[in-house]
């Protein structure tokens, strides 16, 4: 127990900026959005009519929205699994005690600083049908010249690759941190017992890493649902024919291109439920300070 300074007013003064900004720019607009989710917007947003849960009924019964949710989960699932498997593999190698380990670590994690927009721009260039290096590599290796942007599945693959690459640094950082909590004695004891590399990984490293894996699953889901808007906007704009139209992109379109703010707000509420569930799981299981950058 810390000894405290006296005074009741001063601490509230200290907290005032955080609280004012939180209420004015976070709680109030969120509340207004939730209210708006019960309204239907007509005439390009000029008229609002109370619609009860009508927007949600519309969303849940719309095949178009089902497709959006489906695309979101395919995208998210691939980014989470790809990012975690590759990230863990790289972290295991980078965790070996070799000379220059620090240099390697930096060389592996620095894309963390890059934005989804930059990742999108560069990967769009690499995948470009006419000139892209990856198109060329595909031709040399497999004799095909795929038109990535024209095909739905290929476009999905393209944005998954870009999104996974962009978040790899983040995953490696936390896997390396998690690996530091694996006590060397355990592994040495296993060595004495004659365990091989895979047995050690499966029976010692992986179980001890499970809190990190859990944390990263949640953070990667939040990343893929909320942070990849720029990447989609620059690479595919949700296309072709909605093949990469994930929830955040659909929400943006409804709100700011079609001016259907009511139904957009309903989608915001669905995203809120999603982020709440993910955060709750994350708090219950690890208690680590969550970071969204917020």
């Amino acid at each position: 127990m810390k000894s405290k300074y006296p005074g009741k007013l001063l601490p509230l003064l200290f907290l005032a900026p955080t609280l004012i900004v939180s209420v004015l720019f976070l709680y109030y607009p969120a509340g207004m959005s939730f209210r708006l989710s019960l309204y239907k917007t007509l005439f390009m947003g000029r008229k609002k009519v109370f619609n009860g849960l009508g927007n949600f009924v519309d969303l849940f019964t719309s095949p178009k929205f089902h497709a959006v949710v489906g695309k979101s989960f395919i995208f998210s699932f691939s980014v989470v699994v790809g990012g975690l498997v590759i990230g863990l593999g790289i972290a295991l190698l980078a965790n070996r005690k070799v000379r220059g380990a620090r240099f390697y670590r930096t060389g592996l994690i620095w894309p963390y600083a890059l934005s989804p927009a930059i990742a999108g721009t560069i990967w769009l260039f690499l995948f470009n049908p006419n000139t892209g290096m990856l198109t060329y590599v595909m031709e040399v290796l497999f004799g095909v010249q795929p038109d990535w942007l024209a095909s739905g599945p290929l476009s999905m693959f393209m944005v998954i690759v870009a999104a996974t690459w962009k978040n790899l640094g983040y995953n490696i950082i936390f896997f390396l941190a998690g690996l530091q909590n694996v006590p060397g004695e355990f592994l040495e004891a296993a060595d004495v017992d004659g365990a091989n590399v895979f047995q050690k990984f499966w029976h010692i490293t992986l179980p001890l890493l499970s809190p990190t894996i859990f944390f990263l699953v949640v953070m990667n889901m939040i990343y893929s649902f909320f942070r990849t808007f720029a990447l989609i906007d620059i690479m595919t704009k949700g296309g072709p024919a909605g093949a990469t139209n994930i929830m955040i992109f659909n929400l943006y379109r409804d709100a700011f291109q079609y001016f259907r703010s009511g139904i957009a707000a309903s989608q915001s509420l669905l995203l809120f439920v999603l982020v709440s569930i993910l955060t709750l799981i994350q708090f219950k299981t690890s208690g680590r300070g969550v970071y969204y950058g917020g």
């Binding site: 005074g7 976070l26 890059l114």
Partner: protein
């Protein structure tokens, strides 16, 4: 049969080889971008692609910087990212000090209120935030990019956690000397929190620098736009396939430099103050 020593040496050798290959593989998109940023449009449009640097580097960077106005956008992003990073850090140090070194009514409730803002990322409140900022007359101003980002649950949480871990023996001495709360904060707490401050600076600067969706809708004048949207202008211009790829790659390189430099400079603080925090 190979001796254990030789086996260890071989394992180390292959670890080095694998790590070097991985570093190159992760960097390869950027390497290709760097190469393309030196090539003229006609070289880039050649098929098969040329893997050697060209002679259009100056032209590409100049076109990106002046014709696409990236110089101005860089300035805007810098102002916004620094303002938010500094503001957030100061505000969260104050909040965490109040939460750790004072007692007052509804303390836990207030902490929960701050913490629950984590559930409200921009997409959750974007429709109404857009209306609010418009009604306040702040649309298309730097304020629209700064104020809504000032509150920081992450910052408050990290500083609170760090302050709680500072041994009382260290902080009590200062208070016996009669240091008031403000002096205590600036002269004792802040110097003892450099890793946390560094970590938070990295996180927040990168977070702000990389904002895209919010500036896309709230900033209308080209002159006030942020650098990420400059990339949208670059990739959005030209016909499909015949986009100004050279300047676009040059623009990507320009846009990634500030956050990358900050990350590399503060990497140790970032790892110590954030990622490597032991779980408690």
């Amino acid at each position: 049969m190979v001796s254990p020593k030789t086996r260890d040496k071989l394992a180390t050798f292959f670890t080095h080889v694998a790590l070097i290959l991985l570093v190159l593989l992760i960097a390869s998109p950027i390497i290709f971008a760097l190469i393309a940023s030196t090539q003229s449009t006609s070289t880039i449009l050649n098929y098969p692609p040329q893997f050697f640097p060209g002679n259009a580097i100056v032209r590409n960077f100049t076109v990106a910087w002046t014709q696409y106005n990236l110089g101005r956008l860089m300035l805007n992003s810098t102002i916004i990212a620094i303002a938010v990073t500094v503001g957030k850090t100061i505000i969260s140090i104050f909040a965490a000090t109040a939460l750790v070194y004072f007692d007052f009514p509804f303390k836990s409730l207030i902490f929960v209120i701050i913490l629950l803002t984590l559930l409200l990322p921009v997409p959750v409140r974007i429709v109404s935030l857009f209306e609010l900022i418009n009604n306040l007359g702040l649309a298309d101003t730097y304020y629209a990019m700064i104020f809504p980002f000032f509150a920081s649950a992450t910052g408050t949480f990290l500083f609170r956690q760090h302050f709680q871990s500072i041994p009382e023996s260290l902080t009590d001495a200062a208070r016996v000397d009669g240091a008031g709360p403000i002096r205590f904060m600036t002269q004792i707490l802040v110097p003892m929190s450099m890793n946390t401050i560094g970590a938070l600076a990295v996180i927040q600067f990168i977070y702000m620098w990389n904002q895209y969706l919010w500036p896309l809708i709230i900033m209308q004048s080209d002159n006030k736009q942020v650098i990420q949207l400059g990339l949208k202008m670059l990739t959005g211009s030209g016909r499909a396939g015949v986009k100004p790829w050279g300047p676009a790659m040059a623009g990507s390189i320009i846009a990634m430099l500030p956050p990358l430099i900050i990350f590399l400079l503060l990497q140790e603080q970032f790892m110590k103050g954030f990622a490597l925090k032991e779980e408690k």
